[in-house]
């Protein structure tokens, strides 16, 4: 007598295997549905330590300068945009990377909003390839190490006191190269 005759065994049928596979597929489908339904939630929030910092930080907004303005007051509304992660640009009052032309002594107010997903920061430099060549210290919104996170806004006011041709760029390393730069001309 073989051992199988002593303890008869029942081997799986196709329908039982089908049930087993169906259970696995249903669990996977439910998980996939939850994942897709909340697709925009899973990676939405920066770490809490950054939220706390952004809330209390002084960096994104620079205080109004002490020197009095001699020219007129000008306001520009800018935004950071990302077409793809490697194709970035600014809008200046709706125009892509438009030249900003002002007169010496004008009091400039820049309002900027980060409409992209990546962190960005704003500055005016003499050399667009060098984030440290800051032309107007008070013009910075954030810095190369402190950023506006996605959907955050910042504002700054400064006096364009030196004539010349400058560039406004994103101070995050590499972003100017990827398209986030435009001319800032003081006449």
């Amino acid at each position: 007598m073989t051992i199988e005759e002593e303890s008869p065994i029942i081997r799986t049928t196709a329908s039982r295997l089908g049930k087993g596979i169906a259970i696995i597929l249903v669990v996977m489908a439910v998980a996939a549905a939850i994942h897709i339904a909340f697709n925009d939630v899973w990676s939405k929030y920066p770490p809490m330590n950054q939220v706390a910092k952004a809330g209390t930080s002084t960096a994104p907004t620079t205080p109004t300068p002490a020197t009095p303005a001699v020219g007129e007051s000008r306001t520009f509304n800018l935004a950071f945009y990302e077409r793809t992660p490697t194709d970035l640009y600014f809008t200046v009052d709706g125009q892509e990377n438009a030249d900003i032309i002002v007169n010496v002594g004008d009091k400039i107010t820049i309002n900027i909003k980060n409409e992209g997903n990546m962190p960005h920061s704003f500055g005016i430099v003499t050399d667009p390839n060098d984030v440290n060549s800051i032309a107007f210290t008070n013009a910075n919104i954030g810095s190369s190490t402190q950023f506006l996170l996605s959907k955050q806004e910042g504002t700054t006011t400064f006096i364009a006191d030196k004539p010349g041709e400058y560039y406004y760029i994103c101070l995050v390393a590499g972003h100017a190269d990827l398209g986030m730069k435009g001319k800032f001309i003081v006449e």
Binding site: P8, I10, L17, I24, A31, M48, T84
Partner: protein, 507 residues
């Protein structure tokens, strides 16, 4: 998909059973599902790298998420559950006890892998599976990264519960007439890895809590602004995960000891040296963690110590390999699928072992560090050796689990596709690493050599993918259509098979 004794039980009874064979089946089935899902992600990665520039993945962050989930899945949802599954099935049989020591704890340990898997797969963290700060603490978006942290925490707790259960089962519930020096080397491998798990895992558990509180901003363990040190995380992480490499490897070695003597139809050449090598390897495993960090500015003394600590694992690995070769030597070897996979795995073990010696040698480490060489190296180990032996062992357990024989012809197709694919993809990765291609990149320099090597690697991955597709098709088809197996001697190598009557639930 499994045999039943006397009368078939409803599936929900198997799902919520605490019997060791039922829990083992859940572990094994879960691990195979995640092997396939992780493999699909791997093929996505290789397809993205087929050509330079964006091909099928438009967003580099998505690419980061894919390789993070791929790595986490393969390590924590394929290798570890598979070890627990085989251990659960066989350890009580091999130590002649009726079940695991704590059957309910055993079921709890399994059911903890489910929320762990859900957290990892729902969130898709982009931290890489190592989650190094500063990225993981100040940039990685939540809740994905937080879910990943909790997922791994639960998976770690599950491993610890499983390890306690194995240790008690082996040391306290073993049959009194069976001395510890006579149990199967596989039982030794599970004992040693369980002890290593208990010693190694608490460090990572602590590191995860520190990572989480750092993300909350209430602590600054890894934040230099608050007096912390990002490198400290790497020490904590690798103190767990270099031993973890041996936790992955040693059960595979134990499985090889289970298969090689049987399929060579010879007794094991040296049981004592196998046990000694297990124990020494488990101790030496703790002396090499910083070889992952040789490029982080350790002092020359520290680097030398860890280089020697790493090289010290070579004699033990060689003891195992020589033991296997001496066992096979002069044996009447039957190259059924399990034996093919084990011998293939041993061959690839040479390559990955040799690569490891290169990585840890100080002057060479700086050339290979963070390049594709490293990716090729650890994949050669985890796919080429560990997963190969696991798949071979699954073929060996197939008659025990299903009562049917798998198709040897399809298994042969699986083996050759997997073997050739593995060699092509991971050798090409080694070479492209030496040409300077960094790891974890979504795009690469459009240099003709680098493009060609990436394309060779991708083609190898597709060949491997075909092999794995054959594997899953075989598992599904033959568990209902395979010929009924001779339950005493399914492989025709002598009546030394496990007793299937274990499947009869006693509680």
């Amino acid at each position: 998909m499994v045999i039943e004794i006397a009368k078939p039980r409803p599936i929900w009874q198997i799902l919520f059973s605490t019997h060791h064979t039922d829990v083992a089946l859940l572990y094994i089935i879960t691990s195979i599902v995640f092997l396939m899902l992780g493999g699909a992600l791997a093929l996505t990665i290789r397809t993205e790298l087929l050509f330079p520039g964006a091909t099928i993945i438009s967003d580099p962050t998505l690419y980061n998420k894919i390789f993070t989930v791929h790595g986490t899945t393969m390590l924590f949802l394929w290798i570890l559950p598979f070890i627990s599954g085989v251990g659960n099935y066989l350890v009580p049989i091999l130590v002649k006890y009726k079940d695991m020591a704590y059957p309910r704890l055993n079921a709890v340990a399994y059911w903890m892998t489910v929320p762990a898997a859900a957290l990892i797969w729902l969130g898709w963290s982009d931290t890489t599976w190592m989650a190094y700060p500063p990225y993981s603490t100040i940039r990685a978006p939540g809740p994905a990264a937080d879910m990943w942290i909790f997922g791994l925490k639960i998976a770690g707790l599950s491993s610890i519960l499983g390890a306690i259960n194995f240790i008690v089962t082996i040391l306290k519930c073993k049959h009194p007439d069976l001395p510890l020096m006579r149990v199967s080397p596989f039982v030794w491998s599970i004992l040693v890895t369980s002890l290593m798990t208990l010693a190694a895992l608490p460090t990572f558990t602590a590191a995860l809590i520190m990572l989480y509180t750092d993300r909350l901003g209430v602590s600054g363990f890894f934040n230099p602004e608050m007096g912390g040190d990002p490198i400290a995380y790497q020490h904590l992480f690798w103190f767990t995960f270099h031993p973890e490499v041996y936790i992955f490897l040693i059960p595979a070695v134990g499985m090889a000891y289970e298969l090689i003597p049987k399929f060579s139809r010879k007794p094991i050449f040296s049981y004592g040296s196998a046990v000694i090598a297990f124990i020494l390897l488990s101790i030496i495993g703790f002396a090499s963690w910083a070889h992952h960090m040789l490029a982080t500015g350790l002092s020359f003394t520290e680097k030398t110590v860890f280089m020697i600590g790493t090289l010290a694992a070579v004699p033990m690995s060689a003891m195992h390999v020589f033991n296997w070769m001496a066992t096979m030597w002069g044996g009447r070897i039957k190259f059924a699928a399990p034996m093919k996979f084990v011998v293939g795995g041993i061959m690839l073990f040479f390559t990955s072992g040799a690569g490891g010696v290169v990585n840890t040698t100080l002057p060479l480490d700086f050339i290979t560090h963070d390049t594709y060489w490293v990716v090729g190296h650890f994949h050669m180990m985890l796919m080429g050796t560990v997963s190969f032996i696991f798949m071979g062992f699954l073929y060996y357990m197939f008659p025990l689990i299903t009562g049917r024989m798998y198709s040897e012809r399809l298994a042969n197709v699986h083996f050759w596709f997997a073997f050739i694919g593995t060699i092509i993809v991971f050798t090409a990765m080694h070479i492209v690493g030496l040409y300077g291609m960094p790891r974890r990149v979504w795009d690469y320099v459009p240099d003709p050599t680098i493009i060609t090597l990436n394309q060779i690697a991708s083609i190898g991955a597709y060949i491997l993918g075909i092999g794995m597709a054959v594997f899953i098709a075989l598992l599904i088809r033959d568990s209902v259509k395979g010929k009924p197996a001779d339950m005493k001697d399914p492989f025709g190598i002598g009546e030394i098979y496990y007793d299937y009557r274990r499947r009869e639930p006693h509680h």
